[in-house]
Subunit: 298 residues, 2 copies
């Protein structure tokens, strides 16, 4: 959710009854400070910050989070052992994002309070095993005792109920909120998400860090580089710097990196975050009632 | 389900209250005739035959199915327009297997009675779009009006309920029945399925026909061929003939092709087919009851 989830989206989600998250991955420390302060003014409900731990300014980020009294941190892209104890010592609830049972066990051992298990269909950075949400959630549920939040492919109340039936205690929703009014994503990118059809995203750049993105000219250049046997160094050079910002924040749909989940194919409109949350809850409750109609006889 | 689903498994599933399918993909016409006759003796319940339409002896296969009075045919791997009208003229219910909305629409236009929508996590042959079951089912539900059967990643009553919440009217279960007593799969392959962990399967050979298989020495040879820039012809030569039979039927775990879904990682035992069906129904009903406990408040 880099370049999408700033204070506007996070506070709107929290005000609507969800847990809003500020995505620190695209923010310099002082930018994050500003977003946290604005979010605190915009909502009295709890919200959290997602911190990719491989971030160069990670120490400054963590210090700001603690200093400003943020109560919930979602960590990703790194070893959960690095920061969990430190954050928990400051009374912070720590949730770690994983893509496999192996990493879920590692996170539980590191003492996190909950894990987000994210399947292959999710947008952005993703696991190497390509395990889909439908397979991943029951597998993680079987392996760890701590609360389990499902992610990847969830954009409706029905999919929310579906993953809870598989064992999840809650859901993390990304792509659906990119197509929200409050997301800081460029409007051209939001429109591209709404127009996306099946097969329009693909997981690529597995040699660097696997990432799911929309297929555009930049994506095709990456695929051509593969066909010509590009080295990891050449792929890094091709990716360059600020591709994600260029695509998702500046709206360069041709040469930018456009991270979104497969579920974009069934997202058809840009809505206020509060409407997204309310609609999901209506769908969830209807789907829950409908299960009583599922009867089989021999 | 080639080399797994003969008359023993099909009749056991039908006797247990499911709809057993004979997989014709690995059978010469006269072998299929024998399996249908034996299945008719072993069960009075309905059963079906799955027919990959690119099969060389397709005319003979279809004639035998009609001659022997089989009432349900699942077609796959080919154009649903080729045989649907002919089969329906003979009173046969036709279900077509698809991996995308595009092919689901094509199947509906061809007049099939229902579609199986199979996600990326499924074993064996698979779609090019890599759409996972969690994304595919709501998308197909949105697009077609005919009954929708979900496949890929379903091996428990919970996953069965989950995909029905997403819009499926029923489920097709493959991998779980490979690890059944009645499957004709080699015992060494069944044991390998039961031992499989997350990340042990991968979709490969996309240039020929994408297929998900267990990672063994043969799989590694395919990956090495890719690294060396193998042509489609070279890949075909490497695959050779009868790889699937060698692996799944003859039990060559090293050089055979071992087709199975991601969900193998959460299949832990070989059971009679009737126990698999009964256990799924128990899980399904428990999961259904449990949904009444899912309550959220702001």
């Amino acid at each position: 959710m880099i370049w999408a989830s700033g204070w506007r989206l996070a506070s709107a989600v929290s005000n609507a009854g969800g847990l809003g998250l500020i995505g620190a991955g695209s923010m310099y420390p002082e930018v994050l400070r500003e977003h946290i302060l604005k979010c605190q003014k915009a909502t009295k409900k709890p919200f959290g910050v997602n911190v990719p731990m491989l971030y160069p300014d990670i120490d400054a980020i963590i210090n700001i989070i603690i200093e400003l009294g943020v109560k919930i941190v979602f960590t990703s892209a790194g070893n959960p052992a690095s920061w969990t104890a430190h954050l928990k010592k400051h009374g912070i609830t720590v949730v770690h994002v994983v893509s496999s049972v192996k990493f879920a066990l590692k996170a539980a051992q590191a003492g996190v309070d909950a894990v987000v298990a994210e399947g292959f269909e999710a947008g952005g950075h993703n696991g190497r095993d390509e395990t889909t949400t439908l397979t991943l959630i029951p597998a993680v549920k079987e392996a760890v005792q701590i609360p389990l939040i499902a992610a990847g492919g969830i954009a409706s109340g029905n999919s929310m109920l579906a993953v809870m039936v598989l064992g999840a205690d809650g859901v993390q929703v990304g792509s659906r909120f990119v197509a929200s009014e409050e997301a800081s994503s460029h409007i051209l990118f939001k429109q591209k998400v709404v127009e996306a059809k099946e097969g329009d995203t693909q997981l690529t750049l597995k040699e660097l860090a696997p990432v799911r993105m929309l297929k555009n000219e930049f994506f095709e250049e990456v695929q051509n580089a593969y066909k010509q046997g590009a080295t990891t160094e050449e792929l890094k050079a091709l990716l360059g710097k600020a591709r994600a910002k260029r695509g998702m924040f500046e709206g360069d749909l041709i040469q930018g990196e456009l991270e979104i989940g497969q579920v974009a194919s069934i997202i058809h409109d840009i809505k206020p975050a509060a409407t997204i949350v309310a609609d999901m809850m209506i769908e969830f409750n209807l789907a829950k009632k409908a299960t009583s109609l599922y009867n089989f006889k021999k």
